[in-house]
Symmetry: C2
Amino acid sequence: MEGDRNPQHPDVHTLTLQQVLEALVDPVRRSIVTRLHEARTDLKCGSFDLPVGKSTATHHFRILREAGLIRQYYAGTARMNALRYAEIDEVFPGLLGAVIAADRAASSRLAPA
Amino acid sequence: MEGDRNPQHPDVHTLTLQQVLEALVDPVRRSIVTRLHEARTDLKCGSFDLPVGKSTATHHFRILREAGLIRQYYAGTARMNALRYAEIDEVFPGLLGAVIAADRAASSRLAPA
DNA sequence: ATCAAAGTTTGACCGACGTCGTACTTCGTG
DNA sequence: CACGAAGTACGACGTCGGTCAAACTTTGAT
């Protein structure tokens, strides 16, 4: 069975601003969200090239999932991640967009084209 | 002289998203920002009725000031606080408004009229 | 059947942050 | 001048969050 491998995702209406901000305040997690938004596609955990070990990466993905920012599901051995942009924007209008825009600006300032 | 009592305020263009988010992630500080925005007026530190001691309150006001979110100045013995809304919104468009709106919604849900 | 790839889980560590109490400073007022 | 009000400065303390390494699980491929 594949029940245990499909983790729980919180309903959007149960999310708190506190949780969302705590998730977005970490630079690593914010880079995941921004990257996911730029890609416009679901991405596997491995494709992020994060500056931390695997176990730490797992930790960050769980924080994001529990905050309601991403949805996770398995495709073979790879765990896919989808940004729950529209759902979040429904509950916290403009928030995610503003953070992502600001993060993109900051990143491009650090790593210019 | 009154030089030492007028603290430094960072230029808006030196602010980082990281600093701003770190400032806004604390509930006490967020309540200060939200209150300041609702009041549409500068407020003295004492008028916030925060659930922490005086020294902790001073700490929070400093974090907000160094993040560029508020401007502080003295009026007699009282220290006044002004929200730098327009300046912040210029650098991080929509961010502060979205956070405040979400925070107001959360607060009204906890303490209904 | 074996093996490697991809994540997870667990436990430990450490530095940072929020908190407090106390002492101190500065200003207005009786 | 003396006193109280309003904050600030300084340590100290406890907790929580990000980090890692090592062992484990599950899946796909050989």
